[in-house]
């Protein structure tokens, strides 16, 4: 055979051995998937329940060790409103709403006293979510936990993203069961990061009971508003002031080419829109990197930005029969005219 032949044979054996090891490992791992899942679920439950906050009629979550708490505005109310809160286990604190957004349905609450070392959770990236991702909701449905100070944990998946429902503009939808009492509580990934604050459910026949459709305000929206909440008072929503838009249809949307967006039909002078260089006839296709293919999505994306931010937008401008993409910077908010 010769030396080359022997080396080739050795190489083949090495490959076979590797494949065998892979198959054996895969089989062993597959058999442990359920146990792994159970362990992951228990671990995340143990990690997140200590950071849960009981409000009088709803839920909240600690996001810092010194007592910043996120909840819904319809649970905690406007700036200055006082609350007696409890954390898992029953320790009681006085707290006050610092900043709030009634439209976005978020209130930022701070514990009154000087505290350190409280258990807390970090905000995750809600734009990185995919349909089917596993999530856990912690809350107090029907106030069942308000005597033992043990919150309720439910498990489910992300069923839809970027839902514009009533006034929730960019909601995360989940089938983790959420009921009255869960409002203001966290929606959490299996890594223990908060990617939403639960606040609304779709109801059937007016029964105020979960039907498999729950909505949460996404963490990326909350993150953008946080500095404004910490300043105190009401945070206003961003808007592109000085422009009127309408929907257009473009079949090229199907092929992935830039096409559908919202058409600018009029602009005001002066205005932030005018200052940004937006012109009548422009088609706004992206706001801060997010496709705004119709009015619903255009308003949905803008709703997740507080007034005061400046964001890049992409417009398709047709001049002399030629269409080009332009990137403009727009101040979101109403400027004094």
């Amino acid at each position: 055979m010769g030396r080359q032949g022997i080396r080739r044979k050795a190489g083949d054996i090495a490959i076979l051995r590797t494949v065998a090891i892979i198959v054996a490992t895969a089989t062993a791992c597959a058999q442990n998937d359920f146990a792994d899942f159970q362990k992951k679920l228990k671990d995340v439950t143990k990690k997140v329940t200590p950071a849960y906050v009981f409000f009088e009629n709803g839920s909240g979550v600690l996001i810092s060790e010194d007592g910043w708490i996120l909840t819904n505005h319809h649970v905690a109310g406007p700036a200055g409103k006082e609350h007696k809160i409890h954390i898992t286990g029953g320790k009681e604190f006085d707290a006050k709403v610092v900043g709030y957004d009634p439209l976005g349905d978020i209130s930022l609450v701070k514990i009154d006293e000087d505290v350190k070392g409280l258990p807390f959770l970090e905000l995750g990236d809600s734009d990185a979510l995919k349909n089917g991702d596993f999530v856990v909701a912690v809350g107090n449905p029907f106030l069942l936990g308000s005597e033992s100070w043990e919150p309720t944990v439910t498990f489910g998946t992300i069923t839809a993203l970027h839902r514009y429902q009533d006034w929730y503009m960019d909601a995360v939808q989940t089938d983790a069961q959420i009921n009255p009492g869960n409002s203001g509580g966290p929606l959490i990934t299996m890594e223990g990061k908060v990617i939403g604050i639960n606040g609304r459910i779709a109801m059937r026949f007016g029964n105020r009971v979960n039907t498999g459709v729950g909505y949460a305000i996404p963490s990326n929206q909350i993150r953008r508003y946080l500095p404004y909440f910490k300043k105190g008072g009401r945070a206003l929503h961003g808007l592109i002031d000085g422009v009127t838009v309408t929907e257009i249809d473009d079949p090229r949307w199907e092929t992935g080419e830039y096409g559908d967006g919202v058409l600018v039909v009029s602009t005001e002078d002066p205005s932030p829109a005018f200052d940004a260089g937006i012109k009548v006839g422009d088609v706004i296709v992206e706001v801060d990197g997010k496709r705004t293919f119709n009015l619903n999505r255009f308003h949905g994306v803008l709703g997740t930005y507080p007034a005061g931010e400046t964001v890049p937008i992409k417009v398709k401008r047709t001049e002399n029969g030629k269409a080009t993409m332009k990137t403009l910077k727009v101040y979101l908010g109403q400027k004094n005219k």
Partner: protein, 341 residues
């Protein structure tokens, strides 16, 4: 080089599908679970002369009255001794009964006798003449939040009872007598076993009633812990029948309102006396039974003085149009009920 590439490729293929593997694992688990629970799950055919839940108050006038109505057909029970003691919920066997027929896993039908019950704990004990019935292995380890749990209900084919999976949501409900699970629970599951992934007995499904605010399939369900049932077993066997007077209940959550001064309603529980009377979320309660209400705490204090069955006049201020500033006075007659908690 080649072995490394091969490893990388196969590894990507195998470990990429996290969720699909869970589904497959659950599919593999189910036949084992069915074998564990099918032989201990029975169907109860209840022939009753009267049903305390026959006409949920006010429900007849609403389109969703069927939501509150006890369904026709057999309900579920769980075998707890080989000689024929069967645990089920009090809800399944309440009212004036004519006959209980138990359909055993081998499809034979035998007459059942109601031996004892506890209405507050929503548990009842039925006895049939039998021998060598299979019982579930008791779970000896403590149950924790996040444990995966399976809820069992009877089905027309006794070999294939209904199984829904979920997680243990809490372990200290109903004065620590019950665990809470998020598997969808319905009237049909009441009295069924809740088991873990090994098929070990965790508890008996209960507290799912026509007036429960958590309704059916809402993701909030309960099971009497098996350790609690053990404590009650002797008493139940001896024929103890407890109908504890449950707390009085209106069914609203309120918060202080400054203008108008009163208690603003933030939640009206499904199926509650407040809902039946027509009180809405957003109403501000200003007077109850002739007494002025200025704070949320006064609502609880007032109701605590009353009894289930008392009718009280509740005066509220309501904004018919959220855009307008005008408040309208409204009056409701609320018939207080018994608490489902």
């Amino acid at each position: 080089m080649k072995p490394l590439l091969l490893t990388a490729l196969l590894a990507t293929l195998i470990f990429a599908q996290d969720n699909e593997n869970l589904r497959d694992e659950l599919s593999k688990l189910t036949p084992q679970l069915l074998k564990a629970v099918a032989d201990s799950t029975v169907a109860l055919v209840i022939d009753r002369l009267s049903d305390p839940y026959a006409d949920p108050e006010g429900a007849a006038s609403r389109s969703h009255r069927y939501y509150y109505t006890r369904p026709k057909g057999p309900c579920t029970g769980t075998v707890v001794t080989p000689d024929g003691y069967i645990a089920t919920s009090y809800f399944n066997v309440c009212g004036v009964l004519k006959k209980i027929t138990v359909i055993l896993p081998d499809r034979t039908e035998v007459e059942g006798k109601l031996i004892g019950y506890d209405k507050g704990k929503d548990i009842a004990l039925v006895k049939v003449e039998a021998d060598g019935l299979k019982t579930l292995k008791i779970c000896k380890t403590s149950v924790e939040q996040g444990d995966i749990a399976f809820l069992v209900g009877r089905a027309p084919d006794p070999k294939n009872p209904t199984i829904c999976w979920g997680i243990v949501s809490a372990t200290k409900r109903f004065e620590e007598s019950c665990i809470q699970i998020d598997s969808e629970m319905n009237y049909g599951s009441s009295g069924g076993a809740v088991v873990n992934a090994k098929g070990e007995f965790l508890g008996i499904a209960n507290h799912i009633l026509p007036k429960s605010p958590w309704g059916q399939s809402g993701g909030v369900g309960f099971a009497l812990k098996i350790s609690e049932f053990d404590k009650m077993f002797d008493k139940l066997k001896k024929g103890s029948k407890v109908e504890k007077e449950a707390g009085v209940y209106m069914g609203v959550l309120t918060t202080d309102s400054k203008d108008p001064a009163g208690a603003e309603v933030t939640e009206v529980f499904s199926g509650s006396p407040a809902e039946d009377a027509g009180i809405n979320v957003g109403d501000v309660i200003v007077e109850m039974g002739g007494e002025k209400i200025a704070k949320a705490a006064e609502v609880k204090k007032f109701i605590a003085k009353k009894k289930a069955g008392d009718t009280i006049k509740v005066k509220v201020k309501r904004k018919p149009d959220p855009k307008k500033d005008k408040w309208v006075d409204k009056e409701f007659d609320v018939k207080l009920g018994t608490s489902p908690f």
